[in-house]
């Protein structure tokens, strides 16, 4: 609680309460001060007046009593004086002083005893001021201070006998004690009023502020509720003021939000469903493809198996004629196998997105491997193949399997369109952008008007029934798709009767690239 005292009030309630109380307190203190000051003046005057009138009235009886009884019937005098003192509770002290300055009677002797005073005889008045006043024919008053600081009213009233002889004056001392107690009761009253007023002010402050804060707190709670996900909650406020306006706007916002989010959620659900369907379709396609692949290749396996075995004489001696026939079957099988392979590959590429498995590899080794696999074909067709790759060529970065396919397809394509005795050259050169791979042949070339279409699916240069060149027309389409997946372009240059050249550029992996890559490997 200690730190609360020093921080500014935070809630509206507290702010109002503090403000109201401060205001009320200020005005109360102000009015209290004014009141008290005025009252005090009044009261004093009252006391002064009543004291003075008493003083003036009492001087004659006192002096006469003194003259008659003081010396002869002291106890009577004493009784009379005591009565006087009792009659006026404010009267503290009375003394009779003669014009020569001798104090003839002092009310203290009423207490101390006649004897002791009498023994001291008459005392002289030392105060010259008092003496002067005693001698004067006018009554006078002044305020004196007692040793304890209390204020007293001192009145000196001369006693003039009937024939004008001024022998004595009476000096009175009146206390302002009643004044003090009246002032005190005023203060008490004022304090009680203040307390009541402050309490009322605080209560009023709380009441007024809660009128404001209650709807605000409700609004705030509602907002939090909405934030948690209960869209569309509304609040009912009818205070008729700005807060009601706020509540109305809030409600509108809430319902709008609920509607919008509802719509968004619907769309989201739709998207999720659509996505699921697509995924399912994808899976279905993959399964179908796998199934088709299996169904096509399984029979081919046994056919090839037996054909080759028979051709090699493993299942018994065969005639030359039979052997020839079987070799033809073998070749046909290969062709069929290759076509099916292309079709399935094409299907696979069409139905799914192509994932690249990026590797760093040596293009020379890859090219050698591919050409080696096709060696029989080259021999059979009497085509001369040249591999022209420099030894210090940098490694390249791409999907090795796919690039292998690209090179294989391009070479196969060249083989198809190059007559016996022709030449195919596979080369790889380092350039500014990387390693450029080219497959060049001196075959029949591509007619100019066909050039833009050669990469189209199923495109055949000669599509008539008297086709010279077989195939599906997918080889180059596959090449283009695979290179597109890498973001690599394929360039073709060709002239009918002269030959064709296909080239593409692979990014080279230079040593600094490797180093840079190594730097990214996190320490383990």
């Amino acid at each position: 609680m200690a730190n609360l005292r020093f921080s500014a009030p935070r809630s509206i309630k507290a702010k109002y309460a503090v403000a109201f109380s401060a205001l009320v307190t200020f005005f109360l203190i102000l009015s209290m001060s004014v009141q008290v000051t005025l009252q005090r003046g009044e009261l004093r005057r009252e006391i002064d007046i009543s004291s003075l009138s008493y003083a003036l009235l009492a001087r004659k009886p006192i002096c006469e009593a003194y003259e008659i009884y003081y010396n002869s019937g002291y106890y009577k005098f004493r009784e009379i004086m005591l009565d006087h003192m009792k009659m006026n509770p404010d009267l503290l002290h009375v003394s009779v002083i003669d014009v020569n300055g001798w104090q003839l009677f002092d009310s203290y002797e009423l207490n101390e005893g006649f004897e002791s005073f009498r023994r001291e005889q008459r005392r002289a008045v030392e105060d010259s001021e008092v003496l002067k006043r005693v001698r004067s024919l006018d009554s006078s008053k002044r305020v004196v201070r007692a040793s304890d600081g209390a204020e007293m009213l001192e009145i000196v009233a001369p006693y003039v006998e009937e024939w004008g002889h001024h022998k004595y004056s009476v000096k009175y001392l009146f206390s302002y004690a009643s004044l003090q107690s009246k002032i005190n009761s005023l203060f008490l009253q004022a304090a009680l009023y203040s307390l009541a007023a402050i309490i009322a002010a605080v209560l009023l402050a709380y009441y007024l502020s809660s009128k404001i804060t209650k709807p605000l707190v409700e609004l705030s709670g509602m907002s939090q509720d909405i934030a948690r996900g209960n869209y569309g909650r509304t609040i009912f406020i009818s205070t008729g003021d700005e807060v009601e306006g706020l509540a109305k706007s809030f409600n509108k916002m809430s319902t709008d939000l609920a509607r919008n989010i509802g719509e968004l959620e619907e769309s989201r659900q739709k998207l999720i469903r659509a996505n699921e369907e697509l995924k399912q379709l994808d899976r279905l396609k993959s399964d179908i493809l796998a199934n088709v692949s299996h169904e096509l290749r399984t029979p081919l396996t046994t056919i090839r198996g037996y054909t080759e075995s028979m051709a090699d004489g493993l299942l018994g001696v065969i005639t030359t004629e039979q052997e020839k026939g079987l070799r033809v079957m073998e070749r046909s099988l290969n062709r069929l196998s290759s076509t099916i392979g292309q079709l399935l590959e094409f299907s696979r590429l069409q139905s799914g997105k192509i994932n690249l498995d990026m590797r760093t590899f040596d293009i020379l080794l890859l090219a050698r491997l591919i050409l080696n696999n096709l060696r029989e074909e080259f021999e059979m067709r009497q085509i001369y193949v040249d591999l022209d790759v420099a030894e210090d060529l940098p490694l390249v970065r791409a999907d090795e399997e796919k690039i292998a396919q690209v090179i294989e397809n391009l070479v196969t394509n060249s083989v198809k369109f190059t007559p016996p005795g022709g030449k195919i050259e596979v080369s790889a050169r380092e350039g500014a952008e990387g390693v450029t791979v080219s497959i060049r042949d001196n075959g029949v070339g591509i007619p100019e008007k066909e050039l833009p279409h050669i990469f189209d699916h199923f495109h055949q240069v000669d599509g008539t029934s008297t086709r010279k060149y077989g195939g599906l027309g997918l080889g180059l389409a596959i090449v283009k798709q695979l290179l597109d997946a890498h973001g690599i372009m394929i360039a073709v240059a060709s002239k009918e009767g002269i030959g064709s050249q296909f080239s593409f550029t692979l990014p080279a992996e230079r040593e600094q690239d490797v180093e840079a890559q190594l730097k990214h490997i996190p320490a383990t």
Binding site: R297, P299, G305, S309, D312, L314, S337, D357
Partner: protein, 127 residues
């Protein structure tokens, strides 16, 4: 018989028959299995020198059989070559990663197959 035993696992009877005829011609002893379960039992019993394992089989596929073969101490050291109509690179890689020594695509050339068998079994250490 040259003393070498080869096991072929495939759900297609024609393929099993072909292998049997072909490999017997080359003096290999042949063990066949037409399902994964049969393969595991026979591999355990017969302890062949080489297993040809088809991937696409109903119930238990080739991958599962391969895993179980490698888990069983008795059969873990037998070289396994996958046989499949699937030619995708990732299948080839998976084969090698999961412990197969080779991945053969259908349709294969029996000549090539023989060379591979000699290569694999020829390398084997005597048990």
């Amino acid at each position: 018989m040259n003393g070498k035993k080869i096991m072929v696992v495939d759900d297609e009877k024609d393929i099993l028959d072909f292998f049997t005829i072909f490999l017997k011609q080359k003096n290999y002893e042949v063990v066949v299995a037409s399902s994964g379960e049969e393969a595991l039992i026979k591999a355990h019993l017969e302890k062949p020198n080489l297993i040809f394992l088809d991937i696409m089989m109903p119930k238990m596929d080739g991958w599962e059989v391969l895993k179980l073969l490698k888990l069983d101490e008795e059969t873990a050291r037998i070289p396994v070559a996958m046989l499949s109509a699937r030619t995708e690179a990732k299948d080839k890689v998976r084969g090698l990663q999961e412990g197969a020594v080779d991945y053969i695509c259908k349709p294969f050339s029996p000549r090539e197959l023989l060379k591979k068998i000699e290569h694999i079994i020829g390398q084997q250490q005597p048990a």
